[in-house]
Amino acid sequence: MAGIDLKRFHRAFFEESFEGLDAMEAALLRLDPAQPDAETLNGIFRAAHSIKGGAGTFGFAAISEYTHVLETLLDEMRAGRRAICAADVDLLLRASDALRGLLQAARDERVAERSVADAIHAELTQCLQGAASAAAGKAAAATTAPAAGWAIHFAPHPGLFASGNDPLRILRELATLGDARISVRDAALPAFAALEPETCYLAWDIELRGAAERAAVAELFAWVEDECELRIEPLAAGADLADAVAAPALAAAVAPPRALADGAPRSEPRGDGASIRIATAKIDAMIDLVGELVITQAMLQQLADRLDPATGEVLQQGLAQLDRNTRLLQEAVMSTRMLPVEAVFSRFPRVVHDLAARLGKQVRLHSSGESTELDKSMIEKIADPLTHLVRNSLDHGIETAAARVAAGKDATGTLTLRAAHQGGHIVIEVADDGRGLDRARILAKAAERGIACDAAMSDAEVWQLIFAPGFSTAEQITDVSGRGVGMDVVKRNIEALGGRVELASCPGQGTTVTIRLPLTLAIVDGMSVAVGEETFILPLSAIVESLQPQPEQIKRVAAQGQVARVRDEYLPLVALHEWFALPAVPRAAHEAILVIVEAEGRKLALQVDALLGQQQVVIKSLETHYKRVPGISGATILGDGRVALIADVGEIVRLATRAAAA
């Protein structure tokens, strides 16, 4: 038993503590100090309470002690003994942050940075002492003079059994403390006919000889002290009688007036209801294995196709079913990587709360579509761009309360976060009802920064200037939205995810930024092409068209290689086998296939040997075990188990057009 290592529970303790803190933070942000909702307060209290209990049990005494003050304060609040003001909510938020810090340090087995926590601990304590400085000096503990033993009188109330207690158990335990001589008093026992079997009629006198401490004896009666008459006196007679009755009397005297009902609290949303945690590595391993299964299935299919139709028919049916099941399994497994957008949205109530307070603005946050699912890696990567957009809206979009009232608007601004599925994409919107973009100022600033622009540009074109590199610069960087990151970085990051950013704005009514993202980073729609003996994948999204050129469409331009004339445009022509330095059957461009690709507004003709077909491919990293290769964005595994490389069309276009321009 002593062998139970509490460490085995640490992981679960930390996970649930962090979840508890998240819930606490969300509840605090939801809390209306003027009319605190009882269940919300109860939820906050329970989170602190569980962390304290767990921390104490699992050996984190300092955290338990820190949380104790927080819990006590929350307990007074939920019991209605203390009014709550906005400053309290703020203090509680900071207290939960500090608690998070302590827990993180404990989890990582670091020494905690205590200064902030200590300061907040002091604040909480001070806040508590505003109320009755309770800590009424507990009566000095009775001196435990060594006695020859104890004379115990134990007379249970008749209803003792109803609490599940059993006098015999107590007497048995008493006998383990020393030499016990027990005599029973049965004076209260009625005639058998009148005997109620559920009533306790007996009382006991016990002489306990030995070195047992008084506290150890009293401890055995702790559960029943209110349900019995109990006297514990030193055997060497003449001890203080008062002491013997002190415990129940004191308990009765200090029993506090009952606090406000905290009866049976209802329905705390438990986010973990139907989910379990799985390490990403396990999911990825599963995805890899399912990929293998798909390939094996394809291989069996190829073999079966070669069989004589008569014998092959049953096999073919089985394989068709295997094919369906495999695809379904693959889809199901891929979906395990999807997480609700809530994982990112959940951080914004706090961001908005803190930022609005710092900027002295009143802002309310609405969000919708939190359950929309997105690939986990994408979730991680949009968090920063989204945070930037939210900060921007609060800093530059939403006006101060005074300015809003003057403009005839609600003093409290609204920031809306929306997520939704839209035709194979995920659309995320960050909208505010602020002052909107200022066309004249943007044009002036762009001109000043040397960004190409003119007054005749459409609104949409003017808004795009914001995304130009160098538009946001030091002058307008506040400590809120600054941090040296401009909208150009936001745009670049989102494009790197295969997404797009759009912006709409109306003077005086607000600005909406719309981000469109692919469903997943793990799969791409690709065109497989043959280049010599190798197969490459070109992302379908980059392909404009493909054609078999006539000889007169190909021109050789001095010192610039070849160009292809396609619909009156001259496009630089790149032969992929040359580009990748692969051995290939030399053939003229007009005997090959040209795939016209476009990236970053520039077009290029790629020469390949043949088009093999369209397919969705699972993107695999080359960098895990090898390294990044210029012009290659990753690899995938073909139906026959071979590896095909995925061309990085953006990079090829960039390098090729630069070479052509040079």
Binding site: H625, P630, I637, G641, V643
Partner: protein
């Protein structure tokens, strides 16, 4: 997947013995630390990598993971690099990375005490001694022990240097 050939009886010597997987390259017997060997496979088609040196044969699909393959015979500048029924790939796990290595055939697993290993002599340029940790002797056979980390970092496989530094 094939398990490595069964080990020879464990050495009972007082000095803790290290075990090596031995294989042949151009008529010589080489050895690598068995703890770095993940598995042994037959030689598959590899997908060529653009712009890679000749010893970098390309990449293969190892149960869904893309793994680079180097031809040790080309890396060590042994002239006879044939691909036949005996050609195998030894899959090595070094630090966080996995790499395939083409060799002429796997022979055995041998345990060598510290006393069985001598420092590498000067070869005078015939062979690259940078990648050799020592020469082991077993039943009159000479086994050239390879320093696989050094070999792979010289093969310029991404941040392998870093991975090896962490593993060390």
């Amino acid at each position: 997947m094939q398990a490595p050939p069964s080990a020879s009886p464990a050495a009972s010597a007082a000095v803790p013995a290290a075990e090596f997987l031995t294989f042949t390259l151009g008529g010589e017997e080489y050895g690598v630390d068995i703890l770095k060997v993940q598995e042994i496979r037959g030689y598959d088609t590899v997908t060529r990598m653009p712009g890679a040196p000749d010893f970098m044969k390309g990449v293969i699909n190892l149960r869904g993971t893309i793994v680079p393959v180097i031809d040790l015979r080309l890396k060590l500048r042994l002239d006879d690099a044939r691909y036949d029924a005996f050609t195998v790939m030894v899959i090595l796990s070094v630090g966080q990375r996995i790499v395939g290595m083409v060799v002429d055939g796997v022979s055995d697993v041998v345990a060598l005490d510290a006393g069985d290993v001598r420092p590498p002599p000067e070869f005078g340029g015939a062979i690259d001694t940078r990648f050799i940790t020592g020469l082991g002797t077993r039943d009159q056979r000479m086994i050239i022990l390879l320093d696989i980390e050094k070999l792979l970092s010289a093969a310029d496989i991404g941040v392998l240097n870093e991975a090896v530094a962490q593993a060390a």
